[in-house]
């Protein structure tokens, strides 16, 4: 490849990368996640971050940063705590990639300065290149296996571009191995070198050298018959010592490329003819440049975002919670706003948060992966960029909303995230955003309309009497008239209800009391109850059920009505109603 093409492509990739980085970093200050973030201006966010950094540098917390860098960023302590296999795989990838980058890609600026006699065709570089490349491949395989092993029974969150990046990485490695293998086996390469360093391409004159190179260096000469006479090899060795040994060691130590070269031996000539050495090189190098240019937009970006996320955790002032088991940084809302935007980029979709999600069983039973953290994060990102609420995407938006409001805030995802994302804070923000976008928790969207209005909407739909045999399985008490037929309207339930007691003020007041709800059920007017404040303000304290002289399970019925309402009213609900 001509130096000019190489340089141009390199600089172009670097420029694209820089522009991409600038764009992505700017998003951390522009993207708004959470209602409190909407109140903060762009300039305020930028200022807050710089102030925060300055404050940290001036405080004692700055001494925590080096330790955090080593333990969290380099040694990946958080990942080690959760997934040792994937930690090991990741370590292989990081070490392999870094060393390959430094030793192989940057040989001109790094390796040559450290080791004067560097030649790519010498050991240990032959071996090391293969080693590092293999480490990456093995590491990636371990990571993929680790991910597959932890599947939760629900789809894992992923982005197509992640797969593309992994494919690109694999492509770089594979083309690298192929290129090296081809060069090892290529007669054309041999003759080119011979011409340059010995001065001849005459096959007969070069026979001894060819014999050596065929038997020990893997070159596939089509016209050379095996077995090769040992005295020829011996002659070749002398010639080799003078002309080639300075730059070449037997490539058997290239434990991947060498075997591949032997496999390619039969078609070496063909590959030479089609100039595989040229186009493999172009493929290899341009794939790298593509990776570089697209760095800010692929999974690779996490090499920037993850360290920042982890170091922010270490550098931020910590909230003190007696007996806490994981650190909880406190940040001002201006800084937090940016932190959340960063989190959306820093997520590597490893799925570790999903593994021990407390509501994973609920997610599985309800068939809604939206309850799982990795999916919630994607939904949060989609919410932030507006794509969650596009027409035609209602089902996804509803699943995300259900997920957000069934989250129990247990903090397990936060404590396990290897990148140190403050997921608990993100979910709270997401809930606020969902509510503002017309997708609040059921209690809110139901109570946005009056009970009567809901009943009228139901009337427009099929089935007048809301309880049918189909409801018996999910709402057995409410669907069985015997449950409340004994109600004598004694008002005991209402008298002992704390919700009614504290809702005396008519502005906040309940529209129905417990005994009125029971009465409506008796009268077959249950549809009027589904949207009533009483049903949704019920604290399920069970005073009513405990006192009822007829043993009516009032509180159990209230909870059944709620579940029924979520389904029935959900079916007639029009989305996009702003609260």
């Amino acid at each position: 490849m001509s130096p000019m093409i190489f340089q141009t492509a390199l600089y172009a990739s670097l420029v694209l990368c820089a522009l991409g980085l600038a764009w992505r970093v700017s998003a951390w200050f522009r993207v708004r996640v959470g209602p409190d973030a909407r109140a903060v201006t762009l300039s305020r966010r930028v200022a807050a971050v710089f102030q925060g950094i300055a404050a940290t540098l001036a405080s004692r917390r700055v001494f925590q940063i080096p330790g955090a860098f080593v333990l969290d960023v380099l040694l990946q302590r958080r990942l080690f705590a959760n997934e040792k296999l994937r930690w090991f795989g990741h370590l292989l990838v990081v070490v392999g990639f870094t060393l390959l980058l430094l030793m192989h890609a940057l040989w001109a600026s790094v390796t040559v300065k450290l080791f004067q006699g560097y030649q790519p065709t010498l050991d240990p570089y032959l071996f090391l290149r293969n080693l590092f490349g293999t480490m990456i491949l093995v590491g990636v395989a371990l990571l993929l296996y680790g991910r597959w092993r932890r599947r939760t029974g629900l789809p894992q969150a992923r982005r197509r571009i992640d797969a593309a990046f992994v494919a690109l990485l694999a492509f770089v490695l594979v083309t690298g191995f192929l290129l090296e293998a081809h060069k090892i086996a290529s007669p054309r390469a041999f003759y080119r070198m011979a011409e340059q360093f010995i001065g001849t391409t005459d096959a007969e004159k070069l026979m001894p050298l060819r014999a050596l190179w065929a038997s020990e260096f893997g070159v596939a000469f089509a016209d050379l018959k095996t077995p090769i006479a040992p005295h020829l090899v011996q002659q070749g060795r002398e010639l080799h010592r003078d002309a080639c040994a300075f730059c070449h060691t037997p490539p058997a130590s290239a434990f991947v490329s060498y075997p591949v070269a032997q496999i390619l031996a039969p078609v070496s000539g063909l590959l030479d003819q089609v100039r595989a050495d040229i186009w493999l090189l172009y493929l290899h190098v341009f794939a790298c440049f593509l990776g570089l240019a697209s760095l800010p937009f692929t999974l690779f970006f996490h090499v920037v975002t993850a360290p920042i996320s982890l170091l922010v955790n270490a550098a931020a002032p910590q909230r003190e919670l007696p007996g806490q088991t994981f650190p909880t940084p406190t940040l001002s809302s201006a800084v937090r706003a940016s932190r959340r935007a960063l989190a959306l980029d820093a997520c590597v979709r490893c799925g570790i948060c999903d593994m021990r999600c407390s509501v994973a069983p609920l997610a599985r039973y309800l068939g809604n992966p939206g309850l799982l953290p990795a999916h919630m994060l994607q939904a949060t990102a989609a919410l932030a960029d507006g794509s969650l609420l596009r027409p035609g995407r209602e089902a996804g938006a509803l699943r995300a909303a259900e997920g957000a409001f069934l989250c129990t805030d247990c903090g397990r995802c936060t404590s396990r995230c290897p990148v140190g994302l403050d997921l608990a804070d993100l979910w709270e923000a997401a809930r606020g955003d969902l509510a503002a976008a017309g997708l609040p928790a059921p209690a809110q969207w139901v109570q946005a309309r009056a009970a009567l209005a809901w009943a009228e909407s139901l009337e427009a739909g099929p089935g007048q009497y809301i309880f049918s045999a189909a409801d018996a399985w999910s709402a057995p008490l409410s669907a069985d008239r015997r449950t409340f037929s004994r109600c004598v309207q004694c008002q005991t339930c209402t008298n002992v209800c704390p919700v009614v007691a504290h809702s005396i003020d008519s502005e906040h007041g309940v529209d129905l009391t417990p005994q009125k709800v029971m009465n409506l059920l008796r009268l077959g007017l249950g549809d009027l109850t589904l949207g009533s404040r009483m049903v949704w303000d019920c604290a399920s304290c069970y005073q009513c059920q405990e006192h009822c002289p007829e043993g009516i399970r009032v509180a159990d019925i209230m909870l059944e009505l709620r579940a029924l309402a979520v389904h029935r009213l959900g079916a007639v609900r029009s989305l996009g109603e702003r609260s």
Binding site: R356, P361, R364, W536
Partner: protein, 268 residues
């Protein structure tokens, strides 16, 4: 005595002191606690899908069953939810079939052999109030304490089987065992308001503040809790409020102090 400890979702993240003090106190009293990979008890799903909540609860019970242990929880909300699930599984054969099938798909089985116990009845009945009193080294004499039972501990009584739902005494006797003085307060059995704090924050706040005012007016210095929801609610409502406030203490912390355990181990 050996139990699978069920902490629920609130304690590890929001009130780790409760876990710490529970372990410290029960360890001191010779109760062995085992940690299994439990998940949410299912409470948040109660008003979305009865099936889903029962499944979530049953899954935890199945895990305990597999380990051959009964379940012990310091959270009365989890206690009530798990007990409710047991009730529904007991009375609805079709629900039981559906849940059993879903559990089988995950390699688990529920047959109802694992019981669900709450911390307070365990201390009062299995360990014994007298045994506790005898183990006390630093009685909290003079401390006037209002016992906060929490709703799901007491009601519905045929599910919770905790104590007499209209005139419970178990918590007060446990407080007396520590040397402190339980206070009689009219609103002691009222709901703290926590279940409503998202659905209707003003109403929830009124309920909580009424309880706090009642406790103060009855001469209590501390509200003693046995549920993280109640405990956090009292703290949250009082934080930053100019109104007179009352201290909150978990029972395990009160008992731990009385037993002479170090404050640090109790999360204080």
């Amino acid at each position: 005595m050996k139990y699978a400890l069920f902490l629920g979702c609130k304690i590890p993240s929001r009130l780790p002191a409760y876990a710490a003090s529970t372990r410290a106190v029960l360890g001191h009293l010779g109760v062995t606690l085992v940690d299994l990979e439990f998940d949410c008890c299912g409470y948040p799903a109660r008003d979305v899908s009865r099936d889903a909540f029962v499944f979530a609860a049953a899954r935890n019970l199945a895990l305990a069953e597999r380990a051959g242990l009964d379940l012990l929880t310091p959270c009365t909300c989890c206690f009530g939810t798990l007990r409710h699930a047991l009730r529904f599984l007991g009375e609805d054969a079709q629900l039981r079939a559906r849940v059993t099938q879903a559990l089988a798909a995950e390699g688990l089985a529920w047959s109802g052999t694992s019981a669900v116990e709450h911390l307070l009845p365990l201390l009062a009945r299995k360990v014994g109030v007298d045994a506790l009193a005898a183990a006390v080294r630093a009685p909290r004499t003079g401390l006037r304490v209002a016992a906060q039972y929490g709703c799901h501990a007491l009601r519905p009584s045929n599910v919770a089987r905790f104590d007499n739902p209209l005139a419970p005494t178990i918590f007060e006797s446990l407080i007396r065992a520590t040397g402190a003085t339980p206070v009689d307060w009219p609103r002691r059995l009222d709901c703290c308001g926590d279940p409503l704090h998202q659905a209707n924050a003003p109403l929830s706040g009124r309920m909580t503040r009424a309880k706090i005012a009642d406790a103060l007016e009855s001469g209590a210095e501390t509200i003693c809790t046995a549920c993280p929801h109640c405990h956090l609610r009292f703290d949250a409502v009082q934080a930053g409020s100019p109104e007179p406030s009352i201290r909150t203490l978990l029972y395990t912390q009160l008992l731990g102090l009385a037993l002479g355990l170090p404050s640090k181990s109790l999360g204080l």
